[in-house]
Homo-oligomer: 241 residues x 2
Amino acid sequence: MDTKRTYNYRIEPRDVDFMRRATLMALVDYLLHTAGEDADRNGFGVRDLNLNNASWVLTRLAVEIDRMPDEYEPVRVTTWVSNITRAMTTRNFDILDERGERIAGAVSNWAMIDLSTRRLLDLHQLAAYDTMTQDFPLPAALPRRLATPHPTEQFTHTVAYSDLDFNGHANSVKYLQWVIDTLPLEWLRSRRFARVEINYLQETRHGDVLALLAERSADDCLYEIRNARDEAACRIACHMV
Amino acid sequence: MDTKRTYNYRIEPRDVDFMRRATLMALVDYLLHTAGEDADRNGFGVRDLNLNNASWVLTRLAVEIDRMPDEYEPVRVTTWVSNITRAMTTRNFDILDERGERIAGAVSNWAMIDLSTRRLLDLHQLAAYDTMTQDFPLPAALPRRLATPHPTEQFTHTVAYSDLDFNGHANSVKYLQWVIDTLPLEWLRSRRFARVEINYLQETRHGDVLALLAERSADDCLYEIRNARDEAACRIACHMV
């Protein structure tokens, strides 16, 4: 019997911006937290994979947002796995409000890597993982491969201690934060994000000096975050309404 | 009957650094979250005060840390109010582990301000708040008035969208993050914070370009965060062991 598993949260004061609505970073944090909890609960969490010197790596994420939830609002995140290939698995999310109405939908792609070689591992090695897939309509359009922008502006960020996660790499949510922090405050005040797509391409480490190359129009922006070797570490596309 | 009220948390993956231990920012976040919850529950929360166009402002904080909790570790925060004067109230915290052993103790000072004039309000206006005080030994030495450093190093930070809280000012925890992000990674790897004191002096806003003036020795650092008008916005002292 197919079911979406449900995780309950509340939008806390630390999750909101100056408009008392959840930031996009907070929403993505709840998605990633849900992914971690759900994988843990089913025996495929980071700690389980670590026992075999393996770990999950988020490779792509697409989030479609209908509205930003308010401070103190209870939200329900449902999640399910829809697809498993050799190199990639798809995990989906709905974010629902108390009445069951959709706040956002998201689709994420994950790979499993060997922690020593950083190489991809075959997901079919996780024999029981194959039983995890469930067949529901996708909650958002699949995250695409994003193109390199034709940049008109450039920003810089040096990866700091507070950007690091337990792997010693910059946390996935931080890339989004660096990009959003470059947007004019007036855009963030008068509009909201309708769709965000992220391609994670390379890990970044403490002290890495990153260039954020931005192509921006009235409603859309496309960023490429390049490392000191001039390689793309991440691309982010945002559509605002 | 005097009791300390208890709030339960777990150190989540997003709370830890590259050593898989809670960051100081995460610990302080749990303290502030607990303060907010406890004030709410007793009818003195920000939302209650907002009804009278008033709000809480954190003015000083001292945290004494015995050890940094690990990823996934359950922690229990107890809190109580110990003192109320016209201009200031003292809220205390213990952070305990599952066995009831102390992880950290903290003392915070709060003022109540009028949201229009930003002036201090008399705390005795909150008639029932006077019944909140409880008489337990202080969990840490009181936060002192910190002196201006004799700086040997200087850093800069521009207040970004992700630094803002629901008041449109930089979040209290962010001042600590800006300072800690300037410390050599090797210090953070090989030592831990034993005591941290913060004086909050002025609010800062989006786009404010701040100077972080640092006086640092082997075990101690004293920072002053100055705004563009060259006023001290915050001072932070850290003792590492």
